[in-house]
Amino acid sequence: MSKIGVFVCHCGENISATVDCAKVAETAGTYDGVAFSVDYKYMCSDPGQNIIKNAIKEKGLTGVVVASCSPRMHEPTFRKACAEAGLNPFMCEMANLREHCSWVHEKNEATTEKAIDLVRILVEKVKYNHSLNEIKVPVTKTALVIGGGIAGIQASLDIANTGHKVILIERDPSIGGHMSQLSETFPTLDCSQCILTPRMVEVAQHPNITLYTYAELESLEGFIGNFKAKIRRKSKSIDEKLCTGCGQCTTKCPVKKIPSEFNEGLGKRTAIYVPFPQAVPNKPVIDRGNCTYYIKGKCKVCEIVCPTGAIRFDQEDQIMEVEVGAIVVATGFTVKQPDFFPEYGYGKYADVITGLQFERLASASGPTLGEIRRPSDGKIPEKIVFLACAGSRDPAKGIPYCSKICCMYIAKHAMLYQHKVHGGKSYVFYMDIRAGGKQYEEFVRRAIEDDGVNYIRGRVSKIYEKNGKLIVSGADTLLNAMPVEIEADMVVLATAGVANEGAEELAQKMHISYDPYKFFAEAHPKLKPVETNTAGIFLAGACQAPRDIPESVAMASGAAVKVAGLFSQDELTREPIIAVVNRQAPPVYSSCVGCFLCVSACPYQAIEKEEIKNRNGEVIKLVAKVNPGLCQGCGTCVAFCRTKSIDIQGYTHEQMYTEVMALLNEY
């Protein structure tokens, strides 16, 4: 016979304002098997928990129902209290009287009736509860960091410095990401590469970091602490061990007119190339799509000039399997290209460029060696116009959000232009200046007041070419929408920051969620900004939303500390709420018929085939088996099993049926 204790909480006034808690407790006390029933103002408080503990000890309770808030809030609290009093914590159930009843209904009898129903369901369920034990799973103390931009670099270094191994993969030939493309950084105008390259070198030299560039995630299996990742190491067509990075091949390569990705198409590169001089690793790769040998079958100039014989034309992609315990996703973002904007010329005007292209023009390592020159004819522009919010904050373009970094980098661009082109005139069209951040507002004021950048509040409706000039036509909304037309030599569009190509596919590979704009979704917008909904996978940088450098770095360090926290334990404890395939006495062994539809239905690849053998080792029956380490207790297999051979511990068929019947039957 069950001896169940029912503990009804008032939650201050949260429940008792609309539910008659005393009546709930009194009614529950009359049910079969209920040995103790009481209501109290704050069940989660110390005295409240003591009521539960004392009742368990004094009445010898076999089950506990706490009727209070959502189990998400206090289930651990009450389970712990039960455990401390000597009752298996999984003999404790919670009836959610707050979110499911008092908060959503008005004060009347029906509300109290519903509360009573909710308690009765759980009283009946708890009669069928069994003691369960927590599951321990080991932790692989190696982290996988995906993406070698500043966020990935920072996360890798931080994790590596705590003494744990890190595998950093980067899809491009070099780490560095967008930050390596930038000229100067706001709000201090220090050179981006000067502060970044030491970090890149540190990554390459760190004993705890294994760096794979030109590599992508192929597939991911497993769960927190125990992931198995397949990494595709794309063929670089060189033997990295032999290559010294001397650069002979890149100077002699006859294919020299490929638009350089690093220079945003403003410079050219060869088919065998190092993306930029400070690249890490500083070893070339062959771009097979553009290499004459791969297209026409002959050339091999690089092989001839290579002093160490490091060229490998027949090298194939390698798939590597690694075991990791945690993953930091830092895959970054990209920007919209001018061809996204019909009103700004569909990208057909060479002198309408993106902010990222301007960075390359302003950069000392860029195609113009830091001089601001127009891409079309190389002239120094005398009038330059910057357009903020090109695409951003424009629901009509499908990008209603603010790209966040543009206000600041446009102020920086205008400032750099004024510093480099004396006597030049610069204009900024803006919607609002969003300069929230330490020294950010001061920075923008400096651009306006000290450097004389003309800020015009308004949007640009059209850009067109006339007599070799770009006519920027917009409105000044501070002057009653007075039309403004500027004859510019060059226009810079602060195009919207958007999710990387392939972000959706990557998210699906990792089973993490993403928002409508394909940015990866954090677990909680305020309290869990670096976690994803998949345990063990964390986010850093602009793959989650547009982020500037300080934010990306802070996020990366945040993710790193989450990883380090995870790695500080040798074992993880998991709730035993998992699926189990039944076993029965011979000759049946299990009611499972081995159709294995559950195997394909399981979203976590947690179900495997198990051979039941006789004493001679002969297979008698093939049945399904759930791996307790992988199972997340979602119940998909339970719903799928026609023979009802699978049960979720803590939510068995019997318990579910009892709950339904408790509601249907009259008391």
Binding site: V593, F596, R642, S645
Partner: protein, 266 residues
Amino acid sequence: MVDLIKRAKELLESSAVKVVIGYEQGTGNKTRALFVEKTEDADKLIFDSRCIQNLAAYVTKKEVKEKGKMAIAATLPVMRSIIQLASEFQVNDNNLLVLGITPESNLIEFANLVEVETFVHQYQIEIDARNKEMLDKLAKMTSAERWKFWVDELAPCFKCYACRAACPMCYCSRCTVDFNQPQWIPVPSTELGNLEWHIMRAMHLTGRCIDCDACYNACPLSIPINLLTKRMLVDAKEHFGNYQPSLKGDNLMSTYKPDDKENFIQ
């Protein structure tokens, strides 16, 4: 069917198989399943248009399986069932040889199930015109009318489970209705219980039923329960793509494909 008899004899004589499953003359104008274990019994084998029972229902039966390797005279629906059963790991090349009978009534032997699959995939599963008309009629009803239609149709069902016994896909050693802790589906034949049983049956056959009508043919009351599975066939096609039994294990209902339409979620 001379070819079939000859082939059955050869297979039994050479001990390539232990039992050949086919049809024989039954009582009245009916045919019934025949399990040929001795060469001389092979002469009883017949095949004609009356042979519509789905013999695949026997290949998962313990009593038949125990005899050793089976050969089965298989019409197109039977072959479809066998492929579905193979994808559910119930039969394989080691325990089953398929003696196919083409829609033109020719004997065609397959070396393995892959060949059977290739043959089966030449034909799409099509719902016949009469049943299609019936489905359309049901679809046009209001939900209240449809509910009444099914309550009335299913009311006489006394749960003899002939439909279950005739269905090759109902091979579970423990059917949901036999699961009694708890008893989700009530045992007695009641209005609601009958509905529950037939709806459950249709759900469990979704993405697996190859539309052979064995359930309807077996029903002593001729209740059109095959309309339920046919409806599921149509719905499954609409939401998850065309259904063909396949050895690839890409079960329609348990697998996710990026091109699943999933219109019902939006």
